[in-house]
Symmetry: C2
Subunit: 268 residues, 2 copies
């Protein structure tokens, strides 16, 4: 298919090569910042478009790959009768429906960066569409990109996005926090790597509520108070420690029946 790309961020940098490898033809790329348009156009040898009015109305599909806040302004300005697609986890399909008869969403559950090549073939793509005729084309594009294509409503996708912020963004930050505390005390962070890997392996192969370990789930107030005191010079981390510990206790009480066989960790 002939595809036009709007946006020059990390998603565009990952999606353009994936679309090209799947045999699609990228007919042009538009963005607000001329420098970024030139850079991405030269890199992938596609036609740069510097003015909104110069976007061809004759592509088969348009991908809007801006930040969420940019999707509605872009949709209201874009003139085309063809299919318009966004890739956002949170923005509703109705934002596109207001302006386009044929539209849809292809949301890749993945974290993108310019420097790291993403394996899109194994990335789940969540798909939504305005109507059955559009469905065929959107599913055709999605299946050309990934082996794992699923249909999902905007409401479910929004929930998945919130869950992904916890599972991905927050998990990364918690690891960053841990590394900072280790560095402050001149302890080698790599000592924690086997534990982190085992934690993730366990959490993904068991029910993470049932394999929760540590002082909070054991109600070990001596250790909890000592840890809070150790965090006195990091007030935000102290709040995180306190509320995550509260939440661990809440979860364990909620799922009490299943907790007879709760596992404990050694670090007490």
């Amino acid at each position: 298919m002939n595809i036009f790309i709007i946006g020059t961020g990390n998603v565009a940098w990952s999606l353009i090569p994936a679309l090209k490898e799947s045999g699609h033809n990228i007919v042009g790329v538009y963005g607000r910042t001329a420098q970024n348009v030139t850079k991405i156009a030269e890199n992938f040898r596609i036609a740069p478009v510097f003015e909104l009015s110069k976007i061809t109305p004759y592509a088969d599909a348009y991908f809007i790959l801006t930040a969420d806040s940019g999707i509605m302004p872009m949709a209201s300005a874009l003139k085309t009768q063809k299919i318009v697609i966004h890739t956002s986890g949170t923005t509703d399909i109705n934002v596109l429906k207001r302006y386009f008869k044929n539209c849809g969403v292809i949301y890749p559950i993945q974290t993108f960066s310019k420097s790291v090549k993403v394996d899109l073939k194994n990335t789940p793509l969540l798909v939504e569409y305005s109507d059955e005729i559009t469905a065929q084309k959107i599913l055709y594009i999605a299946h050309s990109l990934s082996q794992d294509v699923r249909e999902m409503t905007s409401a479910q996708r929004r929930c998945l996005h919130l869950s992904a912020v916890f599972a991905c963004n927050f998990t990364n930050h918690i690891i960053a926090t841990s590394k900072m505390l280790m560095n402050e005390n001149e302890v080698d962070f790599s000592l924690l790597e086997p534990l982190i890997k085992e934690t993730i392996r366990k959490a993904l192969t068991n029910d993470p509520v049932l394999c929760q370990s540590g002082p909070a789930v054991r109600r070990d107030t001596g250790i909890l108070n000592l840890h809070l005191e150790m965090l006195n010079s990091h007030p935000t981390l102290k709040k995180i420690y306190s509320f995550v510990s509260d939440s661990i206790v809440e979860f364990s009480e909620k799922y009490k029946n299943g907790l007879d066989n709760i596992e404990q960790s050694n670090f007490q």
Copy 2:
């Protein structure tokens, strides 16, 4: 060596077979609850000891594998001239020094459970000891259990334990949270698995502060407010969302100079 075990919890269940496989002789196991002593003694075919006064004073080494709060009471009651070892991340070696001339710590950085066999050979062991003569014996035991033995002071070990609570216990809970939110909305949790694995891979091979992604580090207040609203029925999770987001912003400001090449995720 002839080793006596005090405690019948998850650490005992993991350490006893590892000690036996390393060629040590377990001369007995003591615990406060007769039922637990019988169970572990029968399972590993070792002698059960039901009374404190019946603990032999002639073993080469004694492992106190109780919860932290149980270490001092046990140390004050145990009568022996031989080496006494605890395996806690947080309890200071001085708690043992008060009662024993020859003592030490062997802290495995790992999460233990009865049901899952732990690969102790690849688990870092943090070792501390009262004196150079004891050192030889403690290091001998530690090296027989693991390829990765390191010496560390009680203060550093305490810091590592706090960091491990973040990296292991909190990470597990964040994943549990994410799964609960998915279940509530009837979305298949396995959809997030590739993302979680990629997040951990990235965080351990790069600086996690530099590869932080998501709405908080982008200061995307529209999404942040929407997510907080979606968490209205989960007040503790709402606080966690809010403070972790604050902390992500604080970290990114602190490390601003390194953040020119910050990576962004697709879920905006």
